[in-house]
């Protein structure tokens, strides 16, 4: 299983949409709620269409189009999206209308756009693309299974290029609800220094990170993805270690071959233990970085991590803002992303220099 990343399109709480740059200016947020930095969406979609689109659809479409342009692909052979909560703004709008109007005289538009597959569908509609189209909606596996599907499409030889992305939006309501569930840090903080607090609660964010995967290097590929593995509810750190070691072995690598490990640290002391463990045991000699101090924690944050890994390989650079441990390894050849969502959905993604 191998596919080249030939296009990127990333809308996030950082300035990430310009593919010529790599985290040159970092935005530090004063609270646990990181909103995306939005481009002028009219540059991507016509004014009539854009008016009807909710924020998540706009982010997804603009990030998707940017990735396709970057890869110089007009019609991908498949469009695959992962989203944890889908079109939550339209869902809330329709739910609110049902309650307010007591189930009478409802406008269908928010219902129509509330389905989780709307982003993949809207991209296909704009491209008039009749090819394979799917959407994965499983918490911290949403993006990773979309990526696995995309890798298989390339591997099966049915696709030369696939557009794949992870996208999630937060609304004031979902922020409030998840805050009540105790997921986020309270009060004023500096998000860039996420790991300094050593308290309960993370920070949340949103974004759309899209990629074009290709069967061939177009000469300008960022990196190649060599493997992907998801695992569910591991019992303990030993089980996590076993999964990582088996994964490396299946890819004919050992821990010393991994130059950079991108870990999903989210600053919540209840969930960061697994990362501490692998950092100090399996990967005690690798460069270590994280990323959620830039994008926040959300179901498809793993897509932001893939963007970080691809850029780090292409630029041969680990930006200071995300570096946790710098070693004297001179080259970034192999990168492993290890991320988990609430210690339930764990994933490993292996990338290599082209």
């Amino acid at each position: 299983m191998e596919a080249f990343i030939t296009g990127l399109g990333n809308i996030s709480p950082q300035n990430t949409l310009d593919n010529t740059k790599f985290l040159e200016e970092i935005v530090d947020y004063p609270s646990a709620f990181l909103k995306s930095i939005d481009p002028n969406y009219k540059d991507f979609v016509g004014p009539i269409l854009i008016r009807r689109m909710s924020h998540i659809i706009k982010m997804g479409v603009a990030a998707g189009m940017t990735a396709l342009k970057d890869a110089q692909v007009e019609q991908p052979d498949a469009i695959i999206t992962g989203t944890g909560l889908g079109c939550i703004e339209d869902t809330e709008n329709f739910l609110g209308a049902i309650i307010e109007n007591n189930e009478r005289l409802l406008t269908p538009t928010p219902f129509i756009q509330s389905t989780h597959n709307t982003i993949s569908a809207q991209i296909a509609l704009l491209l008039k693309c009749n090819n394979y189209n799917s959407t994965y909606v499983h918490r911290g596996f949403s993006f990773e299974t979309a990526l696995l599907d995309a890798m298989l499409q390339i591997d099966e030889g049915t696709c030369n290029s696939v557009l794949v992305g992870g996208v999630d939006e937060i609304t004031q309501n979902t922020f409030k609800i998840t805050e009540r569930l105790g997921l986020w840090k309270k009060g004023a903080i500096s998000t860039i220094n996420l790991l300094n607090y050593k308290t309960k609660g993370s920070i949340t964010g949103e974004g759309a990170s899209f990629f074009v995967l290709s069967d061939k290097n177009n000469g300008n590929a960022y990196a190649k993805i060599k493997g992907l593995k998801t695992f569910y509810k591991p019992e303990n750190n030993a089980a996590i270690q076993e999964n990582i070691e088996n994964f490396l072995e299946a890819n004919s690598l050992n821990a010393n071959d991994i130059d950079l490990v991108v870990l999903g640290y989210n600053g919540d002391i209840r969930f960061d233990g697994a990362y501490d463990y692998v950092k100090e045991t399996i990967f005690s000699k690798s460069n270590i970085s994280y990323f959620k101090n830039l994008c926040g924690e959300y179901h498809t944050a793993g897509a932001f991590a893939l963007w970080v890994a691809a850029k780090a390989i292409k630029n041969q650079e680990i930006p200071k803002a995300i570096s946790i441990r710098k070693t004297d390894k001179s080259e970034i050849k192999n990168v492993l992303i290890y991320n988990h969502y609430l210690n339930i959905n764990h994933s490993l993604t292996l990338l290599s220099k082209c």
Binding site: L95, N117, S120, A121, L125, V137, E156, T230, F231
Partner: protein, 401 residues
């Protein structure tokens, strides 16, 4: 990619019955599941008929054998019941003996509970019981099923509107063919909710008298709930176990209509492409298909578009076909799973289902659905269609082996 994929287990629950046997018996007795709303709290009670599973959540909890039923959404309970039945029928006792995955599909996830939460929450942001919202997302019901089954190796969820389950079956088959898994429990689950009932009602596509698919006077769909799962296994796995095989999944195809967010194209292009891809993969000629379990929702738009696509694929020589939605209702994310089970039962028992409630042929088509229950016939290859919002169209082909 030469690996074949076999079906070894079936499970379902719908308005027609609480397990495979009951649903099949209802259909053979020509009993529809369409009835007035009983359990769902809605102002449309007694006005819009639905296909509701005839058990309360407490009763479902008992069938599903779960503790603390109040912590489960209705979608999760329905899913656990059907998935457990599928696993049992595949005679799988130790799921971790082989690399076993679960791919579920759903459109609304835990919306049945979120509706209750938001009722309070919209008035006061500090109110609403959190237990009603923590299971909102689509992954929740899947993880509940995975935990009930003990599956750990691979777990995910697909949501492509009304083709969700067909895509979960397709993805499961590909994971087997790519030697990532040995067997997979695939299908989907969706409970009836005010969200979807009112959503389709706002689009004015709910037939107030119950759905009449492929009928000239059809006036919309009947929304239903339920769950359907099948167990698929690799050739290697079934050779090792020597277990009973129902049939083989020989074809699948996924295409996007890319015409409109909700409406199907007038030429049925997405549907045509999905069926064409499935046929190509199966290596079958169109005239080898004995029966089509059509998507056939009963909306003006779907049935016309699907009818035209079928006419194109079969070059006017259309095999027997019917929509089973007048029995089960349109169960949204579960529909591909339930109809996969029905398609497999058609092969297993040599049956072609009647398209209940049909009276008058559509003017635009020169063919009509099968209206009689046909038994003791040879059914070798069945095509099952599932089409959804967003133009997400998928077709599956099941073949006798």
């Amino acid at each position: 990619m030469s690996e074949r994929v076999f079906i070894t287990g079936l499970g379902m629950i719908s308005a027609c019955g609480n397990n495979v046997k009951e649903v099949l018996e209802s259909i053979l007795a020509l009993k529809t599941g369409i009835a007035d709303i009983n359990y769902l709290s809605s102002v449309h009670k007694n006005a819009i008929p639905v296909c509701e599973v005839k058990l309360s959540n407490e009763q479902l909890g008992k069938v599903a054998e779960v503790e603390n039923v109040q912590n489960f959404t209705r979608s999760a309970l329905l899913g656990i019941i059907a998935a457990k039945e599928a696993l049992k029928s595949a005679s799988i006792e130790n799921v971790n003996e082989l690399r076993t995955g679960l791919i579920s599909a759903t459109t609304v996830g835990g919306m049945d509970r979120s509706e209750n939460f938001y009722n309070s929450f919209f008035n006061d942001k500090e109110s609403g019981k959190l237990i009603d919202i923590v299971n909102h997302d689509c992954g929740d019901s899947t993880e509940r099923i995975a935990d009930a089954l003990g599956i750990k190796e691979f777990v995910t969820t697909i949501s492509t509107a009304c083709s969700s389950s067909a895509n979960s079956i397709m993805f499961g088959a590909r994971l087997i063919k790519n030697n990532i898994l040995d067997r997979v429990v695939v299908g989907g689950t969706d409970a009836l909710t005010r969200f979807t009932l009112n959503g389709f009602n706002s689009l004015m596509i709910l037939d107030p008298t119950g759905c009449k698919p492929f009928d000239e006077n059809r006036a919309g769909l009947t929304i239903g709930e339920g769950s359907g799962f099948i167990v698929i296994e690799s050739e290697k796995a079934i050779k090792a176990s020597g277990k009973k095989v129902y049939c083989e999944l020989t074809g699948y195809g996924n295409a996007c209509d890319a015409f409109h967010q909700t409406a199907s194209s007038p030429d049925g292009n997405g549907a045509f492409l999905a069926m064409e891809k499935a046929l190509k993969l199966s290596g079958l000629k169109a005239d080898e298909i004995d029966y089509i379990n059509v998507h056939g929702t009963g909306t003006s738009n779907n049935d016309l578009s699907e009818g035209i696509a079928i006419d194109r694929i079969f070059s006017g020589n259309v095999p027997k076909f019917s929509s089973t939605k007048p029995f089960t209702g349109h169960t949204l994310g579960a529909t591909g799973g339930i109809e996969a089970v029905l398609s497999i039962l058609a092969i297993e028992n040599g049956i072609v289902y009647p398209n209940l409630r049909f009276t008058e042929q559509m003017k635009e088509l020169n063919f009509k659905p099968n209206t009689e229950l046909i038994t003791h016939c040879e059914v070798n290859h069945v095509l099952s269609n599932s089409f959804g919002f967003g133009g997400n169209n998928s077709s599956l082909i099941f073949s006798k082996c």
